[in-house]
């Protein structure tokens, strides 16, 4: 049985539908991500799980119990708030002891459990400090320790790393993964940062306009996006409008407007005349001065328009003959110069027939 069951959840604010008929279930010990742009309804969904907001339709079940009439203070769910919401008048110790005191844990036990929680987040010896004496990263750890100290069934994290700089963010991501494995608590993590979601989650629900666009493992979300929104939102993706000209067998042919005909792995439900979009990741596209001899390749002429040197890779923007621009990403670790092509160079753009995903409109 699923630990958290959300069924047909709907929340409206006036005529705006923040969460639109969402159903999903989350298992014990899972690290689950709600990913979407701001305003997609992910935070509203989280608040309904925590109990701060009530759904207009549908409901939330925790461990098989309908919690719609259970107040937030009685739900076995804790939240790490985006602003951390540490109590400024309490020391780190008192902040972390707060949920234990609310649960009337014996004073002798509180000491030991707070120390343990501090150790979990590597803040041993900081218990006497006050929140205003801590760095951003330390505050974040205290917020996590406080929310986990009495081992809730579910921990909700509302963009907890949004305020941290890139380096610290990466470090905290690794620590969160380790911590989640150690404590075994189910994490539901809200973020608008697709890289963060891909790095952290066991499963991701991509949300847009209050609906779940796709719910899958990170690699499936990245490699087989279900629709145009997911393909566009996760990572960078070249989206080429296309229609099917011949179908059946292993390959089908697509006509890309203004560019020409390409061969593409047959996708389910794509019949002759169907319209859609061919989604191609930049790292699956090669460019070179000559076309490699390979029957499985689609190739076109293009001209390098610009490039971005990103350290480990270089992103080339290539202008095709129809004026459309395609992004291709090449690793810099290959021997020779770090930079291979200059703007204005005539190049051959190619990709394997199974490199892209054809998404029906």
């Amino acid at each position: 049985m699923a630990l958290l069951e959300i069924k047909n959840l709907t929340r409206r604010f006036g005529s705006f539908v923040a969460v639109d008929n969402v159903s999903l279930s989350i298992n014990v010990g899972e690290f689950f991500c709600l990913l979407g742009p701001s305003g997609c309804g992910k935070t509203t969904l989280l608040r309904m799980v925590a109990g701060f907001d009530q759904p207009d339709l549908g409901g939330v079940w925790i461990d098989g119990h309908d919690v719609s009439s259970v107040a937030p203070e009685h739900r076995d769910v804790h939240t790490v708030f985006q602003s951390y919401a540490l109590f400024p008048h309490m020391s780190v110790f008192d902040n972390i002891a707060f949920p234990l005191r609310m649960a009337q844990v014996a004073a002798a036990q509180i000491r030991a459990r707070v120390d343990e929680a501090l150790e979990d987040v590597r803040l041993s010896g900081m218990s006497k400090r006050y929140p205003n004496e801590l760095s951003g990263g330390q505050r974040q750890r205290v917020a996590v320790a406080r929310a986990l100290v009495n081992r809730p069934k579910i921990l909700l994290l509302d963009e907890p790393l949004a305020a941290l700089d890139a380096k610290l963010k990466e470090q905290m991501q690794l620590e969160l993964i380790t911590l989640q494995k150690e404590v075994g608590v189910t994490f539901i993590y809200v973020t608008h940062d697709q890289q963060e979601a891909l790095a952290l989650a066991h499963r991701i629900a991509v949300m847009n306009h209050g609906r779940i666009e796709q719910l899958d493992e990170p690699s499936k979300i990245y490699n087989s996006p279900k629709n145009r929104f997911v393909a566009d939102f996760i990572g960078t993706c070249n989206l080429l409008d296309a229609s099917v000209t011949s179908a059946g067998g292993e390959r089908m042919r697509l006509e890309i407007a203004g560019l020409g005909s390409v061969s593409q792995s047959q996708s389910e439900g794509a019949s002759v005349g169907a319209k859609g979009v061919l989604a191609l990741r930049p790292e699956k596209i090669s460019i070179g001065y000559a076309v490699p001899a390979d029957a499985e390749l689609n190739h076109f002429h293009g001209k390098v328009f610009d490039f971005l040197y990103l350290g480990d890779v270089t992103l080339y923007v290539v202008e095709m003959e129809n004026g459309q621009r395609i992004e291709a990403m090449l690793p810099n670790s290959a021997p020779g110069r770090a930079k291979f092509f200059e703007p204005g160079d005539a190049v051959e753009v190619s990709w394997r027939t199974d490199a892209g995903t054809f998404l029906l409109d």
Partner: protein, 295 residues
């Protein structure tokens, strides 16, 4: 930005001058007066007396201090006034807190209107407002007639409220209430609502959220309001004059009497000095507590 010496003086001089003229110098005059002899017909005797062979000597005495501290009447009056001011401060806090919380939680538009209502009484004269209470608590008011009718119907003796300590405290609370509401509101309005969400999320019920989060965070406002109510209430004379009769007299009345009726200025000065010393002590205590709460 670098501030030049001249600029600093230009900004600092007017308030400094104000404090010097209206606080430091009068206090100094009072200190000197407390050591002088009372004049033959009231007021102060000359500070210098002419001796036998043309010398002058300073005519100072500790007599007024001796008189104040040897008579338990004055110690009692100080204690009583302290008690009234304490009860007033506490009553103001209990009434003002929910009001300030309500204003702070109201939508922005309503909030401004409610703050305006709190300061509205200041638009009419202080004495007129206190006289109004004389009528409300007086023997012929609808309030007293109704109250005594109610008491009579359950077999209790009728009560008189005017000219009692109760009437004084009612007047004190009424007049000083805005001085408690405003600093409390200013504090509560700044509270981060996510702290309350966090407290509730971590298992705190409404009562625990109040006592463990809202109230401790509002302590600087409580201390500021308490000082603003306690200090003026402690030394006031107009309210006990109007509402207190003979039983509701406070130390402020005695000081006023010493200066205007008995005309024993040195004695009045000693009482004033003690009053000021206690007020400074209370203000210092409030500031110390506020700083200790680390907010």
């Amino acid at each position: 930005m670098k501030v030049s010496r001249t600029q600093r003086w230009a900004v600092g001089a007017p308030p400094l001058l104000y404090l010097l003229i209206f606080f430091a110098i009068p206090t100094l005059i009072m200190v000197v007066a407390s050591f002088r002899q009372p004049g033959e017909y009231g007021g102060l005797a000359p500070l210098f007396l002419e001796g036998e062979n043309g010398t002058w000597r300073l005519d100072v005495t500790l007599e007024s201090y001796r008189a104040v501290f040897s008579d338990t009447l004055y110690t009692g009056l100080f204690l009583k006034s302290f008690g009234y001011a304490l009860v007033t401060t506490f009553a103001c806090l209990v009434i003002a807190y929910p009001l300030a919380l309500l204003i702070a939680r109201s939508p922005a538009k309503v909030r401004d209107l409610l703050v305006l209502l709190v300061i509205l009484p200041f638009w009419s004269n202080f004495l007129i407002r206190v006289y109004a209470w004389m009528i409300i608590l007086g023997p012929q008011s609808a309030f007293i007639l109704g109250l005594n009718g109610l008491l009579g119907s359950v077999g209790l003796e009728p009560v008189e409220l005017l000219n009692t300590p109760f009437a004084v405290v009612v007047g004190l609370v009424y007049v000083h209430l805005p001085f408690m509401v405003l600093p409390l509101y200013a504090n509560l309005e700044k509270h981060d609502p996510s702290l309350l969400d966090a407290a509730q999320d971590l298992g705190a019920n409404a009562w625990q959220r109040f006592w463990r989060v809202i109230f401790p965070l509002s302590l600087p406002g409580v201390y500021a309001g308490a000082a603003l109510v306690f200090i003026p209430a402690f030394g006031i004379f107009a309210i006990p004059d109007i509402l207190g009769g003979t039983t509701g007299i406070m130390i402020g009345n005695v000081i006023k009497q010493q200066f205007l009726e008995t005309r024993d200025w040195p004695f009045g000065s000693v009482l004033s000095m003690i009053l000021t010393a206690i007020a400074v002590l209370v203000a210092g205590l409030a500031a110390w507590f506020a700083r200790r709460s680390r907010l």
